[in-house]
């Protein structure tokens, strides 16, 4: 089919709409001028000053710690939730529980953030690093649960039965058979959780306290005072992280696919 001029135009417009803001942000991070809108030649100075901007660096460090910790906790809890939802088909309240695990996905973040805040206030917990981490764990575990659940749906339970039958107790069976096989889904869940935690502004700003400013909060508050090229620089680095992550993920998917095809060839050749 010949691609018409109309199609080409629509495609160009869509991609321009998607990527021009990002390209502008990246290009101006290398701007020598302090003015965001005026090009003053190429320079890496904002990347240098960014490193010495303690407030920004502290925020980045807090975000990284919150991200890793909440993603890990959320992955453990989400995986356990997925297991119990898929495995124990008929326990009282299963429908309620499975509905409730999805609720935070559609719940406006403002409400999740506010309700967590009210909980911490009621428990008289000082807001800070741990409250943000707990809040992030709560909202990311549902995403993990859904990713892992969809993998478990297609998991052949006779594999676990075979392990039990061969003398392997249930807990060891989970670690030797089930976990290695669902690991790709668990890792995908972790990465999703980490990314969600990384860029969350709303829930974090409800539950944060002094000394626990995350990067999105920091960026947002700085932008209110005016955009500096440093912000452009740190955002460019974030974009770089995400891009590398996406590329690595797609390469690993591709390689799994290639290995599967190769295995099939080997199997066909080896047919007796």
């Amino acid at each position: 089919m010949k691609s018409s001029r109309f199609d080409a135009t629509v495609l160009t417009l869509c991609f321009a709409f998607l990527y021009i803001p990002i390209i502008i942000l990246v290009v101006y991070s290398f701007n020598a001028s302090k003015l965001v809108t005026v090009w003053g030649g190429f320079s890496l100075q904002w990347y240098r000053t960014m490193w010495s901007n303690e407030g920004l660096m502290d925020a980045a460090w807090v975000t990284a710690r919150v991200g890793v910790l909440s993603a890990t906790l959320g992955t453990v809890l989400g995986t356990l939730a997925a297991l119990s939802l898929v495995r124990f088909q008929k326990f009282p309240g299963r429908m309620l529980f499975s509905g409730m695990i999805y609720a935070p996905l559609v719940m406006p973040e403002v409400i999740t953030g506010l309700s967590m805040l009210l909980l911490f206030v009621a428990l008289n917990i000082d807001r800070g690093f741990w409250t943000v981490t707990i809040a992030h764990t709560t909202f990311t575990m549902c995403y993990v649960a859904i990713v892992v659940q969809s993998r478990l749906m297609t998991f052949d339970r006779s594999l676990e039965e075979a392990a039990l039958d061969l003398g392997c107790p249930p807990v060891r069976t989970f670690f030797k058979i089930t976990l290695p096989l669902i690991l790709p889904a668990v890792i995908a869940g972790w990465m999703l959780a980490f990314t969600l935690s990384l860029d969350d502004l709303v829930i974090a700003s409800f539950n944060t306290g002094p000394g626990a400013t995350t990067l999105p909060i920091k960026i947002y508050s700085q932008v209110r005072l005016g955009v500096t090229p440093e912000i452009n620089a740190i955002c460019t680095i974030l974009i770089g992280f995400v891009t590398i992550g996406v590329i690595l993920a797609s390469i690993s998917t591709k390689r799994t696919e290639l290995r599967r095809i190769r295995d099939e060839h080997v199997a066909l050749r080896g047919t007796t």
Binding site: S158, A162, L164, L166, C168, P169, R172, G270
Partner: protein
């Protein structure tokens, strides 16, 4: 019909010995899933070194029975004894049984040798011993060159062998096989059947196999239990099941059979043979030489295998009984056998099978011919159930 084609089995029939102690005993086992009764008050004895088949259509409870022995399901009522010990409540990982799964359930993230070693590693055997046992198993199933491969790098037949090796590696007291050959093509299936029999005999193990394939059950088993709706219909050797089914259900399930419904007209030795029965099957008079409980006036079925029916264009000397006249309505050519479907005047069809002993393509009997079907007194049997 494949009757025991395999190597001639040793004389082995502990079930006929009243002093023999059963190895496995299912005692009044009932299993319900909600409202559905999968197994209904079933009692069954299986003896050591027996190759025992549970045969029946899907949903008859055979797999549930096996899973209860493996420990994946607990009976709702009754108990299971293994070597005289009640194994209720013993989890699957502490039972001396191993199972070969229908899907093979090979661990996809482990190589062939790791799969086979898995059960041995659970027993914390020394490394050297595990390696030796894995080697032995690979040799047994002829898979030595494939030890380092992953299951998805193997063909269906090879996977089946790995699954067998893995389930045999721990030298279980009882090996459970759930539709073990279902996924293989016919030729490979037949080969594997004989290999299974060899392995079972050589290792001296007790095999319990679940299958819906009657030919498979006939070929490999010492005894077969035919099941229907959670109940055992008959337990007997393959030959007994085939030649002396105890009910219409078993007769119809195993192989091909003609069944004519009728009424007992005489039970006296009117034909000079003691225990003979005469049945009037709506105009067809049938005489059978068989001891049976039926009395005059009972509704019974007369059953006869097609290969025991003679077909001929010539009228027999005595047409007063065991003779049917009809038209050849269809011929099924099976290569080794031809099956003639003969339609009587009232529309009932009787099948007669004839071995194709000559290489003639032009058969003496063909479509539309009028023929006589006859059979001797001891060829058919009376079914009261």
């Amino acid at each position: 019909m494949a009757k025991s084609l395999g190597p001639v089995k040793r004389k082995f029939s502990p079930w006929t010995d009243p002093s023999a102690v059963p190895f496995i005993r299912f005692e009044n086992i009932t299993k319900r899933f909600g409202d559905f009764t999968a197994v209904d008050n079933l009692t069954l004895d299986i003896y050591e070194r027996e190759f025992f088949s549970l045969l029946g259509p899907s949903g008859c409870g055979k797999t549930t029975l096996m899973r209860m022995l493996a420990g994946f399901e607990e009976p709702t009522e009754g108990r299971i004894l293994l070597q005289g010990k009640d194994i209720s409540g013993v989890p699957p990982y502490r039972r001396p049984t191993n199972m070969m799964f229908q899907s093979y359930a090979l661990f996809p993230h482990m190589t062939v040798e790791k799969n086979i070693a898995f059960g041995l590693e659970q027993d914390n055997l020394p490394k050297g011993e595990i390696a030796a046992r894995v080697e032995e198993m690979l040799k047994l199933v002829k898979l030595e060159p494939f030890a380092r491969r992953k299951p998805n790098q193997l063909s269906g037949g090879q996977r089946q062998r790995v699954a067998l090796a893995r389930s045999l590696a721990k030298r279980p007291k009882v090996l459970l096989l759930d539709e073990p050959l279902g996924a293989l093509d016919k030729k490979l299936r037949e080969e594997t059947q004989f290999e299974l029999m060899d392995i079972q005999t050589n290792l001296g193990l007790t095999f319990l196999i679940v299958t819906h394939d009657q030919e498979e059950a006939m070929t490999v088993s010492d005894r077969i239990a035919v099941m229907d709706k959670g109940v055992i219909m008959q337990v007997a050797t393959p030959a007994e099941i085939y030649e002396a089914p105890n009910s219409r259900y078993v007769a119809d399930f195993i192989g091909d059979i003609n069944i004519l419904e009728g009424t007992v007209s005489t039970t006296e030795s009117a034909l000079g043979a003691p225990g003979a029965v005469r049945i009037d099957c709506d105009g067809v008079s049938v005489a059978v030489e068989q001891e049976c409980q039926a009395v005059k006036g009972d509704r019974v079925a007369f059953a006869i295998r097609p290969e025991k029916v003679r077909i001929s264009p010539d009228q027999p000397t005595d047409t007063s009984f065991n003779a049917v006249y009809g038209e050849v309505w269809d011929i099924g050519y099976l290569g080794d056998f031809s099956v003639f479907l003969v339609k009587m005047a009232d529309g009932r069809i009787v099948r007669a099978a004839q071995a194709n002993v000559s290489r003639l393509v032009d058969r003496p009997i063909t479509f539309g011919d009028m023929v006589w079907l006859t059979w001797p007194l001891d060829a058919g049997l009376v079914l009261t159930r």
